[in-house]
């Protein structure tokens, strides 16, 4: 099938009219180029938006208390309650499939009064009491020193990790940060590290750099929280979705706090996974549109090839007649036309893929030169699977494009074909 002679024949017949061959090839080239570029652009947008999640563990939810909406077991509605540290343990024990359950407490808030003092400087910052796992749920880059660890928690050390924003406000440029002390609501904490948060793409990225993280236990003790937990950040492991596990987590809380099992308003939550799924769905749709449009454009190229092959067959009617008189079987003629069509499709398709890759490389090159953290469009690319799918589409469409002309070539009787001059 792939003898040297066959290839020679293909090259000979395609090169007999270069201009036409190239024009035809361009149709397919253009189609596959559009397909790849569209897919890559979709991917780039997806990458950009997903980066907006700041690398956050997307299979997560945040949960806080609200007022109880239904009376239950003699307790009135409108009652307030707090999560306790024992709730954390209860959730871990009773709900399988969770990766992290991080209790959190918070001081201060956006626009709050100054709560942090260092020497003559003061500032208003969010101060969080946290467990070390929080860095896996809301990733941040440690720019110097280290993050909190379990020794800090167990020994209730008064240590703090501060944001780059805090550093610029509270320190002179050349001052040593690590080992220094800052005073939070009158309590001294030693700075052990600084962080810079990955972009969240939102408007509060400035605020994100102005946070202070201290051990949860030290926070409770220093600021008289007792065993109260302000809210929780819960992440499910990769085999479960947090959306599915949510209700069993709520059940544990309701049980512990004597809340009516059907009270949906007692616990507030934000389900990041649900939001993320919505956006993922958007990109699935976008991908579909890219394939749809790309394949349609490709189709017009394929029709072009089909047309040209029809003309080629027409032009070579006499030659086909001669070949058949000399002993060519119908299949060898058909195979010849099909191979030509597939060959033309694949070669031009490859050229299209190469061209698209080149363009993507240039775009990436231009994008790489800029700071990508705030961009909505990052690393437009197609994976190998997509390219293979595209090639497969090409082979099939080449085959289809050749089918009708090949059949045409056979339909003419050799004696009629010979009569054609």
């Amino acid at each position: 099938m792939f003898s040297r002679d066959k290839w020679n024949e293909i090259i000979e017949s395609l090169s007999s009219n270069w201009f036409r061959t190239i024009l035809t090839a361009f149709g397919v080239l253009w189609g596959i180029f559009i397909l790849v570029i569209l897919l890559a652009a979709g991917k780039g947008l997806e990458n950009g938006v997903k980066q907006g999640f700041g690398g956050m563990a997307t299979n997560s939810m945040f949960m806080w208390t609200q007022t109880v909406a239904k009376p239950y077991k003699g307790l009135p509605k409108g009652r307030r309650y707090n999560f306790k540290t024992k709730d954390v343990q209860a959730i871990k024990d009773n709900v399988p499939g969770l990766q992290y359950v991080s209790p959190r407490n918070q001081l201060g808030g956006f626009g709050g009064t100054n709560n942090v003092v260092r020497g003559l400087k003061s500032g208003a910052f969010n101060v969080y009491g946290d467990y070390p796992e929080i860095i896996n749920q809301q990733p941040m880059d440690i720019t110097s020193g280290r993050f909190l660890n379990y020794n800090d928690l167990n020994e209730r050390r008064k240590v703090a990790v501060i944001g780059e924003g805090v550093k610029t406000t509270m320190y002179e440029n050349d001052e040593e940060v690590l080992g220094s002390y800052i005073k939070v609501n009158g309590v001294n904490f030693q700075v052990i590290g600084t962080y810079k948060k990955k972009s969240t793409g939102g408007g509060n990225s400035e605020e994100d750099q102005k946070e202070i993280y201290v051990p949860f236990t030290s926070f409770s003790q220093a600021f008289n929280m007792g065993d109260i937990v302000g809210w929780m950040a819960i992440t499910a492991n990769d085999n479960n979705s947090i959306t599915a596990l949510k209700s069993s987590i709520f059940d544990v809380i309701k049980e512990n706090h004597t809340i009516h099992p059907e009270d949906d308003r007692a616990i507030g939550n934000f389900d990041l996974f649900e939001e993320y799924t919505k956006i993922s769905g958007l990109f699935t749709a976008l991908n579909f549109v890219a394939y749809f449009v790309g394949i349609l454009v490709l189709l017009s190229g394929v029709i072009g090839i089909c047309n040209i092959m029809l003309i080629v067959v027409k032009e070579r009617t006499n030659e086909i007649g001669v070949r058949r008189a000399l002993g060519a079987t119908p299949w060898s003629i058909r195979g010849q036309i099909l191979l030509e069509s597939i060959f033309l499709t694949i070669i031009s398709g490859m050229a299209g893929i190469i061209l698209a890759t080149l363009v993507l490389w240039l775009v990436n090159y231009a994008l790489a030169a800029q700071d990508s953290s705030e961009m909505m469009f990052i690393n437009p690319s197609v994976d190998l699977v997509t390219v293979i799918i595209a090639l497969l589409i090409l082979v099939i469409s080449g085959l289809l494009a050749g089918l009708i002309p090949a059949q045409n070539a056979i339909r003419i009787k050799p004696v009629d074909a010979l009569r054609t001059e």
Partner: protein
Amino acid sequence: MIEIKDLHKSYKTGATSLHVLKGINFNVKEGELVSIMGSSGSGKSTLLNILGMLDEADTGSYMLDNVPIKNLNEKIAARYRNKFLGFIFQSFNLINYKTALDNVAMPLYYQGVSRGERLDRSMAYLEKVGLAPWAKHLPNELSGGQKQRVAIARALASDPKVLLADEPTGALDTKTSYEVMDLIQGINDEGKTILVVTHEDDIAHMTKRIVNLKDGVIIDDSYVEQVRAKDHV
């Protein structure tokens, strides 16, 4: 070599039917050089097409080298054509983007002969027709006579039982015609069976037997004194 009994063929064009061959009986022995003559519309080309398995008769039998040629599908017909027959056409029908050598090698390609052997054998046939120095030339770089000689070499390449020539000299001037006929006579002298369709008397008399067709029947079939083309060149 060729046995034809009561061959009929008609063409249908819309409602009317044209009866072209009306019962042809015709035998050719091995080594004969036969010319088929007749005015246009006499059915000589149709007869040749049927002999060449390019067309099929309606009724009647056709035996070629004791093989009945009947109800062939295209695949078998192609194999028989390749094995039994060599074609020479009025308009040469060379493939114009292939060199003379590759043109000659075509039948061998369809026989599945390996490339090296194919080219060796084709070269031998080109030498036989005296065109070895033109082996690498494309058809449009050759004169008419040269083209026809390449076509003859091509027809010989597969070593067929019978050569079928449809007006082989129709597109050539007298001098070249005689050269081509000289070549055909030479091939016949080596024992090859050859059928020539022509409407030129002088060409017909260079064969050994003339079959005259008129309105679809053979009106005359006689052996003649062969005129050697060489004497006229």
